[in-house]
Amino acid sequence: MAVTQRARTYGDLVVDDPREFRVHGSIYTDPQVFQEEMDRIFEGTWVYVGHESELPAPGDYKTVLVGRQPLIVARHEDGRIYALYNRCRHRGAVVCREERGHSNFFRCRYHNWVYANNGALIGMAQASGYPEDLDRSRYGLVPAARLASYRGLLFVNLSPTGPSLEEHLEPVRKYVDYWFGRSPSERIQVILPPHRYEYPGNWKLQAENGFDGYHGNYVHLSWQRVLQLSKESTVEEVQQYRQEGCVRGLRNGHGLLERPGSLNPASSWTARMMHRYPEYAEAMRKRFDDAQLMEISARRNIFVFPNLYLFDTHIRVIVPKAVDRTEVQLYVYALEDVPEAINRSRYRGHERFYGPAGFGAPDDIEVFTEVQTGLAATGDPWNLLHRGQHRERVMDGEVIGHTTDEAPQRSFYREWKRVMSQA
């Protein structure tokens, strides 16, 4: 199917039927859909690229792929962060091969063109081969059209047009704020290196799973048995917990899975830590009132369209590599200004469930590969996402559903369809 035809048919691939919301299997398997996702979503909207704590000092940098395009994100001497296309202006070689590091400049190894870490062209080998009045300011590394930060979360947009980051994040912002609130100074520090796993499946399988409250009792029954072994919770208790809370489908493609907050140490992690560590409780009570603590102690998996999840232990970044190949990076973070023991127990808890050898995440990955395989069978090519459509309610622009319902998935695909249908 040709591109021009496809552009007219995205409306048919995501069917927003009020009784049977469904998506066509080809959105996970068609290489042409993938290329257009890269064009329109990953290279045309706000994409998460990292947290400022990864680049604490001037000269620190990391390299990333935004869609298919290599970029450098670097902190310059002026203290500001720049996002630059990783391509020498002379003959096109990358000027940085490392994943992350510290450098005062980026040098192209082909003909020694040298750039400052704000992108300015500093010099080149045998400069006498160019006129003396060469305007070097025309030949700096090209900056991304837009780079913006929300409380240290860095986003790049390769398109100069469309909503601001503030507008994009508005529907999810208060939940991001609560997420930071488990630190009494509302700050986090990313711990490097990240967990990284790769699976032979489409990136959207990870996007639609992180806020899925329906699969836990089946995919993670094994995990529930481990918790029972260690006498932390019985399978029945965990299954009861998984019925509590809600899902929220938000505007702009965001969404979340939420477990209710509580000030009772038996019922929430935050309250338990406050009970165990009086200095943490004191700092939290100084910063927040009870109503805020109720919200902060709610456990949420927060999805920010299109490639970011905020979890209680980590920042999850989805990196699409091909229509059937995806890398996922889990950046565990420390909560700042909390007792060291709290963070250490968070790291051990994270390792226990997540990462390529955790007791939970590999079971999710296994299911993604099962979906990717099954989608090759096209007798009926539709995937159903209408669970809970008949019982969801709308409040303040949020679509709220039972914890096992697919309201956030529907929000995700409505935004996907909107962006993909733009010419």
Binding site: L192, S230, G355, F359, P362, E366
Partner: protein, 164 residues
């Protein structure tokens, strides 16, 4: 002090337990304070960073229990593995009855499945530098500490739930 040949015999026997999925016998090789560590960055303190695996004996027991007694998806179908143990070196231990041993391992892994199944049927190779601290307990050598540094420890990994 172990000879290289004796150390090799121990490591080959350990590899065989894993290849034959005799996980409970493998777990019993560890001392009560045993540690099994698969780092991402082998130079970082594992307590203040994040590892692929950082198991104390309790966590190790959970890992083996999960593999043998619970309905896991990621090991159903189970991995087949073939491990080669080479470049064995012995070094003095950290205390009486202790011994340090190093080796390199090459682990071939494959999960069999039906035709066209993504993630199954393709053998892959993992290369690792391994370090052991062995301790003599009741006349037997046991593992007090095992560190497995994968060649691509800080790159993206597919399912490592089979115990690398």
């Amino acid at each position: 002090m172990l000879s290289v040949a004796e150390a090799e015999q121990f490591l080959v026997a350990e590899a065989r337990l894993l290849d034959e999925r005799r996980f409970e016998e493998w777990e019993a090789l560890f001392t009560e304070d045993g540690v099994y560590w698969v780092p991402m960055d082998p130079d970082r303190d594992p307590t203040d960073s994040v590892s692929i695996i950082y198991d104390d004996r309790k966590r190790l027991h959970e890992r083996v229990y999960r593999l043998t007694k619970t309905p896991v998806l990621d090991q159903n179908p189970p991995s087949r593995t073939v491990r080669l143990v080479a470049n064995v070196e012995v070094e003095p231990g950290d205390g009486p009855g202790e011994q340090r041993v190093r080796c390199n391992q090459l682990i071939a892994e494959m999960r069999p499945g039906g035709p066209g199944q993504a993630g199954l049927n393709s053998p892959r190779w993992l290369a690792a530098r391994c370090e052991y601290r062995l301790r003599r307990v009741d006349g037997r050598w046991r593992i007090a500490w095992k560190k497995v540094v994968l060649l691509d420890s800080d790159r993206a990994q597919y399912n490592l739930s089979f115990i690398p």
